[in-house]
Amino acid sequence: MRDWDVYELREIPRADYLIVGMPDVGLVGLIASTYLARTLGAEMVAYMDSPHLPPVLLYHEARPHPVMRVHRFSTGERSALLLVSEVAIGVRGIHSFARFVVEWGLSKGVERLLLLGGVPTPQRMKLEKPAVYGAGVTREDVELIEKSGFNLFREGFVSGPYALILKECYKRSAKGIALLAESFLNYPDPGAAAAVLAALDPLLGLKVSVEPLLEQEEEIRARLRETMKRTMEAMREAGKAYEFAVPAMYM
């Protein structure tokens, strides 16, 4: 078995975007992408597998349910592939994962990768509405972030799998934006996930009603406690603490 494999369940037509939702800071990517797939009824068109994934097989509605799924949906003229990962990848697997995801996405003709996630802030408890930052790769990405009205992520670190995916995009001059909402570091944060989903509107012309997500906020937080705990272990391993360090350029 190679490091990463994709199993396509049917022929996948070209898509404009590859949206990625991984469990990370505040589980923002996981909550947002799962909610998006469910709300849009997006069909599962492929799944990914790797020896780097934990040895678990989920069951859903009496059938095996891959932990790393690819869904597809369209919004008017735009189409997107949506990668949802239920599990965090250990540090030994994230480099090969980033390469694989970018290569696969580009092979499907995607114009841009969109990574959904959180940026931890100690002030999160006091924020009613978290701000969304856009970390872009190319000049076009930066222009799109500014045009869409997000805060441009100008200085600081992105770490973990999203950092490596952005770096792969950079190496290939491919377009990629990480949409990062201010969030709790180590508590599941559906409020931040709702902020990220709202940010998809100017990019995809996709209005997602986030009220049901906010209504279930406490239920989601209670149920995802164990996933958050496991994700924290992977984040520690992947050097998430660097996000709080002062980069040498400021000294």
Binding site: P122, M125, F184, L185, N186, Y187, P188, E217, E218, E219, R221, A222, R223, R225, E226, M228, K229, E233
Partner: protein, 140 residues
């Protein structure tokens, strides 16, 4: 005098290391007490210089149901849920009904427990415990 100070500092360091080790080991403990129907909430301890902040995630608990106490150096947080939670999506705990949270933590030795304050908002509890102030002794 200097030797005593050094030994006490060393003992203090060892106590702190033991406390940190115990905290690290907790990561691998099961998170649900099936017998009592209690679950350990997610939490973090922040060293904010002159105070220690303990933040605890208590979704589905209401303010009236949250109890915070400090006995010696142990902080105990208990809270009952507004309605029982079934963790049916985790087969190991499928038959457990969770009705509350319980968290027990050992605090650093230099905190002033009597001055602790707590706030609860949207299911998040924050306990602020000031550190005891050090003062300079005039040498005659």
């Amino acid at each position: 005098m200097a030797e005593e100070w050094f030994e006490e500092s060393f003992r203090e360091l060892r106590r702190e290391l033991r406390r940190l080790l115990r905290e690290a080991e907790r990561l691998f403990e099961p998170v649900v007490d099936a017998e009592r129907g209690e679950v350990e909430p997610l939490y973090e301890v922040v060293d904010a210089g002159d105070k220690v902040l303990v933040r605890v995630d208590l979704p589905k608990a209401s303010k009236e149901a949250v109890e915070v106490s400090i006995v010696g150096r142990r902080l105990v947080v208990r809270a009952s849920l507004r309605e029982p939670l079934r963790l049916c999506d985790v087969p190991y705990y499928a038959r457990c009904e969770v009705s509350g949270y319980k968290l027990e933590l050992e605090l650093p030795p230099d905190v002033d427990a009597e001055s602790a304050q707590a706030t609860f908002r949207s299911g998040y509890l924050e306990v602020t415990i000031p550190r005891r102030r050090s003062f300079r002794v005039k040498v005659e």
